[in-house]
Symmetry: C2
Subunit: 284 residues, 2 copies
């Protein structure tokens, strides 16, 4: 496995394999099974797999959140090596954002919805770093997890609107045995918080069950799920929404025969967790 800590080394590492199909897994490190599943899928579909580890400062609206984001580069490199990754890109912020960098990607109106409400600038920073990494790595395919669904939706839109020659894959969220969505941020939970954390997914499942049982009023479903969370946990809810999975607009009516995204973001102490259920009616 070639570790490229700057752009020149990345170029050299990739040029050595010119002509091979290339899959790419961009990450912020502190890797878990969710990331490794993306890597495995890339390895299946491409002759070469590159990953990046970069905690991108411009997508953090809160400097404290950036400072406390978990990091463990040696462990990450060990995991990627074991998975057979060919090239890992571990750039510095100084190299990716030299002085006077200011051109960015404008995400359009979706940046103001869901996670964008409480994280101003997050999606602009995220799309800008993804476009930079796409230009630097030039993959044929790139892999993302469903937990960050809004992120995937915006990257899909960017790839379409700006004609990036890249195929995107979104893979299902991986979960711990108790249902908690895998996330690097889980490492920040205190033991008591960790015990409560699976309730976040349980509140989503409860909402889905209500819809399956015939509750059509989206707001009532949301209210029931939120009430469950508030009563049984110390989660502080940022948002809990049932939306159209393309436009991210709130749905008034919902049923098992309509596509919907049920998405939640909530704080346990100072750790912000997100999760979602994406529902598409079975075909036929």
């Amino acid at each position: 496995m070639k570790i490229a800590s700057n752009i020149r080394e990345l170029r050299a590492a990739l040029d050595a394999h010119k002509g091979k199909s290339l899959g790419f897994v961009p990450t912020m490190g502190f890797l878990h099974e969710g990331h490794l599943t993306l890597v495995r899928r890339s390895r299946e579909e491409n002759q070469l797999t590159a990953a990046s580890i970069f905690v991108n400062p411009t997508q953090f609206n809160d400097p404290e959140d950036l400072a406390r984001y978990p990091r463990d580069l040696p462990a990450d490199l060990g995991k990627l090596e074991k998975e057979g990754v060919d090239v890992v890109f571990t750039p510095t912020a100084e190299e990716l954002y030299p002085k006077d960098t200011e051109i960015s990607i404008n995400p359009g109106h979706l940046e103001n919805l869901l996670c964008g409400m409480s994280r101003p600038g997050h999606f602009r920073g995220m799309l800008t770093i993804v476009s930079k990494l796409f230009n630097l790595v030039r993959p044929e395919r790139a892999y993302f997890g469903q937990k960050d669904f809004q992120q995937f939706l915006l990257i899909s839109k960017m790839v379409a609107d700006l004609n990036f020659p890249i195929t995107l894959r979104m893979l299902p969220t991986l979960r711990e045995k108790d249902g908690l969505a895998m996330s690097s941020r889980n490492a920040k939970l205190a033991p008591a918080e960790r015990r409560q954390a699976p309730e976040l997914y349980r509140s989503l499942e409860m909402g889905r069950d209500l819809i399956d049982a015939g509750m059509e009023d989206a707001l009532r479903t949301v209210a029931a799920s939120m009430e469950y969370l508030i009563e049984h946990t110390s989660f502080e809810i940022d948002y809990f929404s049932i939306v159209n999975p393309i436009t991210l607009e709130d749905l008034e009516k919902v049923s098992p025969s309509t596509p919907y995204l049920m998405a939640v973001a909530a704080y346990l102490g100072s750790t912000r967790l997100i999760d979602n259920i994406l529902h598409y009616p079975p075909a036929g």
Copy 2:
């Protein structure tokens, strides 16, 4: 010469030459010798040359300006064929901007200076189409004329800030025998306007001569050049500026030993013309 009128045809035409170095000349058509010089340079430096002809609606702030922009696709294709261009991309606006397109490039503060002042949204639209064309064509080198210096500066900044793997070349402005900078818009000038048009470049030369003769006050130089234009022509001046060629900020003091860009935009009737002199002190 392969003419690709949609993205699928472009992909097929370029894939047929995979592995060859590719130069790209993006244009809005109505080609003149300036464009053809860019094509020739690309042909010298690359194994394959692609050009595009697309009057990009999103960079026109004025619908009337868009409607009256000159077009002559058959003549353009004849010229490109004669120059030995390999692939010409002539997309439709419908294909490049499907419904709901909204992700764009944010140009940063330079978009508000010089031409940006009177053309709100112009540079955002321009950078967005250039990024789309770069992603579609994926050239190693791209060629632009100095007449649109601010455009080139912004594209350079985008390529740097977003890490596009593309080398840019700016070639000197080509001029008619009387000094008028070649421009597709010159075709819109009435005969009486066309006779006055070379005075635009003359006013720039006069400013440069004043600087060469020791006038250090940039505003006085600008004032003298503007006065010349106003007295001798019916140009209506949009701006006349002497600026730092990197930051585009106004210079107070100027001399032959400082780098400067002297740039002008002015209307003859309803036709907006631009021109500039870019001065870098001789090395040594």
